[in-house]
């Protein structure tokens, strides 16, 4: 117990002593935990509008569809099946071509009674319910075609007037939706040479008419399908009910549970989730790189403390535990903060579909979500800190008490190559060679960031040029873009902080050698250029690796995990890739210019005397 208290006390005191570094550590881990939380809870947040719509419309637990009028008896039998406590319909549904404001779209026209139904009564958000000659349009479909109450439309050449706009929970909002007609439906963008049968409805919307109007549209009863909405005694059994009623024949009713409808209604949130998981993964990796640099420097500054602990009897494992304790503490706080921020901001990221009512709410944090986020925070921290902590714990007690700085690494071949280069590059290579691990972490950080940019370029181009290929309208594309922007901004900010921290660590680590080099005749500009080049050259390497193989590999992994079709996307062109590499190098040069300049102009005598003292 005493050791635990000791470790905790030392951890807290050290964090208090270096607040800025502790804050940087916290931010690095929190970037990953917040994004991961968003990814995990977004779908739950997006479910709220569907739930609100279901309550407002007395949404069905199961929607049964038959495309053969001769199988109507099958539908009617379902109405009295065990567990069913209410129903509405069967309602006729027929395919039609709708023309409005010069635009033509396929629709599924459903015939409804003028009187309200007990199960699935679509809620009007504009106008009035169906009447002869009047059509009510599903809200998301109306928004996509910019239709309003009073607009004239035609259905298969017959004139109608839009009398209302409504939402329903019996079908996912446009451009999603269930296929209720015998002709069949196809969604998304269709290539011109796809050879799709003309009779298939393409991205059909949903409209409601009177039953009489539907029959007038399609006088042939054989071409009409039927829909029945069921309410169960236990709505949670809806999926089991749908699964337990297998089709006796290919023409038997098709059953869809409310959970399946909700799943498709929140499909956008699922894609948001995938984007956020990509972001969380990249941020997690970047956090490991950032933490490794920060922690390495902090532990190096704690050399004397390590010596004291060992001198008074601390074992290497106790010393390592004490060193790790403060970072574990930061990780736990970062996990909690990430969970809080993520769940509070999730509703801001996912707006409701135009086809649903209500807004996304703050989703509850489940034990599994909290556990996973905390595990990731701890994992990132342990990976970044275990090597420096164990190294410090195994160091010589005498050397630690003398607070001897860890000697720089010697890389003979780099030193030999550098002798042949101009002075700034000679010095830059030797600066990099002194701490190769830090250089590798810098390269990794840039590679991770650039691979994220590469993916963002691909996704942004895809959303811009082929939104319907993903089955989205403009508002939904904007939401996906917003999600993409969120994690890109976080990634770029963390990468920028990483670059600045690495530069400062390099400048401080090279105080003595910079002062000595200036005493031997290097100009301040040469030393500053060397310190900057020591960051820019690894950034160039990282940017190239981030494009290839980093970006390629990440894109292939995403396709493999999501089952995406890589043939549908356009990879960044050569000039785009070169532009990303160049921009990365320029940004790193700009970020590191100030620390490098300051590092090249520190007073020589003060620095040499301080090192000697």
């Amino acid at each position: 117990m005493g050791r635990i208290l000791l470790g905790g006390r030392l951890a807290v005191r050290d964090l208090r002593r270096r607040r800025i570094e502790a804050a940087l550590l916290l931010l690095a881990i929190m970037a990953a935990t917040t994004t991961l939380t968003l990814a995990l809870v977004l779908r739950d947040a997006a479910s709220d509008p569907y739930q609100s719509t279901r309550e407002a419309t007395n949404g069905p637990d199961v929607v049964a569809t038959t495309i053969k009028p001769t199988e109507l008896s099958g539908l009617e039998k379902l109405a009295s099946a065990p567990g069913v406590i209410g129903h509405s319909g069967p309602y006729p549904v027929t395919p039609a071509k709708l023309q409005a404001s010069g635009r033509t779209s396929d629709v599924q026209a459903m015939g409804r009674d003028a009187a309200p139904a007990s199960v699935d009564q679509p809620k009007l958000i504009q106008g009035s319910w169906v009447s002869d000659g009047g059509v009510v349009v599903e809200a998301a479909f109306a928004g996509a075609l910019d239709m309003r109450v009073g607009d004239p439309v035609t259905l298969d050449g017959r004139s109608f007037e839009v009398v209302g706009v409504a939402v329903t929970a019996a079908m996912p909002p446009y451009p999603g939706g269930s296929c209720l007609v015998a002709a069949g439906c196809i969604r998304g963008a269709i290539p011109a040479d796809a050879g799709v049968p003309a009779r298939l409805l393409h991205n059909p919307g949903l409209v409601w008419l009177t039953q009489a109007d539907v029959r007038r549209l399609k006088p042939d009863p054989g071409s009409v399908s039927y829909v029945m909405n069921l309410t169960l005694a236990d709505p949670d059994e809806a999926q089991a009910f749908a699964d337990a009623t297998p089709p006796q024949s290919p023409d038997a009713p098709f059953l869809e549970s409310w959970e399946e409808i909700r799943q498709e209604a929140t499909e956008l949130a699922k894609d948001d989730q995938i984007l956020l998981l990509i972001g969380a993964w990249l941020l997690g990796l970047l956090a490991v790189a950032s933490l490794s640099v920060l922690v390495g420097g902090r532990i190096a500054d704690q050399t004397r403390r390590v010596g004291l602990l060992k001198a008074v009897g601390g074992t290497p494992s106790l010393v390592a535990a004490v060193l790790l304790a403060e970072y574990v503490l930061v990780a736990i706080v970062a996990a909690a903060a990430g969970l809080a921020v993520g769940s509070l901001t999730a509703p801001l990221l996912t707006g409701p579909s135009a086809g649903l009512i209500g807004s996304a709410g703050t989703p509850p944090i489940t034990m599994s979500t909290a556990g996973l986020v905390t595990a990731v925070a701890l994992g990132v921290t342990v990976v970044a800190t275990v090597v420096p902590a164990v190294r410090a714990a195994r160091s010589s007690t005498v050397n630690a008490l003398a607070d001897s700085a860890r000697p720089p690494r010697r890389t003979g071949w780099l030193i030999a190559i550098s002798a042949r280069l101009p002075v700034p590059l000679l010095l830059a290579l030797r600066v990099a060679a002194r701490r190769l691990r830090r250089v590798v972490l810098g390269v990794a950080g840039i590679a991770i960031t650039v691979s994220g940019i590469y993916i963002a370029l691909i996704l942004n181009t895809f959303l811009t040029t082929q939104p319907l290929a993903a089955g989205y309208d403009d508002a939904q594309v904007e939401e996906l873009r917003r999600v993409l922007l969120v994690w890109m901004v976080i990634l770029l900010c963390l990468a920028a902080v990483n670059a600045i921290v690495i530069t400062w660590a390099t400048v401080l680590d090279n105080r003595h050698s910079s002062a000595l080099t200036r005493a031997l005749g290097a100009t301040p500009d040469e030393v500053s250029a060397a310190l900057a080049a020591a960051q820019v050259l690894p950034a160039l390497a990282g940017a190239i690796l981030g494009v290839f193989p980093g970006g390629f590999a990440l894109f292939a992994a995403i396709n493999a995990i999501t089952g995406g079709d890589s043939d549908r996307v356009t990879l960044p062109s050569l000039w785009q890739r070169l532009a990303v590499v160049l921009a990365t190098v320029l940004v790193v040069a700009a970020l590191t210019a100030v620390p490098a300049r300051l590092g090249g102009r520190r007073p020589v005598t003060e620095t040499l005397q301080a090192e000697h003292a």
Partner: protein, 248 residues
């Protein structure tokens, strides 16, 4: 004040360096005049904190004076930019520090050739010069050793070799034996004796009378100012040289 006339390689007039202000004002160097002739060895002695090291830094352009002038080879260096000062240091001044200040990750020969590389010499020429200098200081067999594998005296000899790399006009040594044992001190003494005989201009700040004994002139410093100056006749050929074991 000594007047070495037209052969002055290093000259200071009214040299001052102050730190702080008001009641905290410290005059580290207070109105120093100095002329050092070509080939002359000058030792500066005084108690700790008297301003010896600060004087050396001002003479070598490592620090800026608060007032007065410093001239090296007839050219003022107190009013030139940092870039020009750096170029001056690489070609005209060699420094030897008490703490050696070697790069820990470079071998002895790589430490010595660094000055030449900074001055733009080709790697081959710089390496050749470094090996010659290491032979001169008796360390050619240690050329590939890291500083951590060298004794204190050996490290200081590497530092002296480095200071000579670009054939400087003057070598400025700040307490070169301050961190050395007696045996190592004698090795360094002999090196300075050899440099003096070869005509190298030396300014040595020291607490050590044995080092001072190798000089042509001994300047005593107190509270930032020169208080005494003694011409040592014959340098190490005087009685003091024999006493410190430099005479056979």
């Amino acid at each position: 004040m000594s007047n070495v006339g037209d052969t002055s390689v290093l000259r200071a007039r009214g040299l001052r360096k102050v730190y702080g202000k008001g009641e905290g004002l410290v005059r580290a160097v207070d109105g120093v005049d100095l002329d050092i002739g070509t080939g002359e060895t000058v030792a500066v002695m005084g108690p700790s904190g008297c301003g010896k090291s600060t004087l050396l830094h001002l003479l070598g352009g490592l620090d800026r004076p608060s007032g007065g002038e410093v001239s090296l080879n007839g050219r003022r260096i107190d009013d030139i930019g940092e870039k020009a000062l750096a170029r001056m240091r690489r070609s005209a001044v060699g420094f030897v520090f008490q703490a050696f200040h070697l790069m820990e990750e470079l071998t002895a020969v790589e430490n010595v050739e660094l000055s030449a590389l900074l001055a733009g010499r080709s790697p081959r020429a710089a390496r050749r010069r470094a090996e010659e200098l290491l032979e001169r200081v008796g360390l050619v067999g240690r050329a590939r050793f890291l500083p951590s594998a060298l004794s204190g005296g050996q490290r200081q000899r590497v530092a002296i070799a480095r200071a000579l790399s670009n054939e400087p006009l003057v070598v400025l040594a700040d307490e070169p034996t301050g961190n050395l044992d007696s045996a190592a001190t004698l090795d360094v003494l002999r090196l300075f004796e050899g440099l003096h005989e070869s005509g190298q201009t030396l300014v040595i700040v020291t607490h050590d009378a044995r080092i001072a004994a190798t000089a042509d002139r001994l300047i005593s410093m107190r509270d930032g100012a020169f208080v005494d100056e003694t011409r040592l006749s014959g340098g190490t050929t005087g009685q003091l040289g024999a006493l410190v074991g430099l005479e056979d």
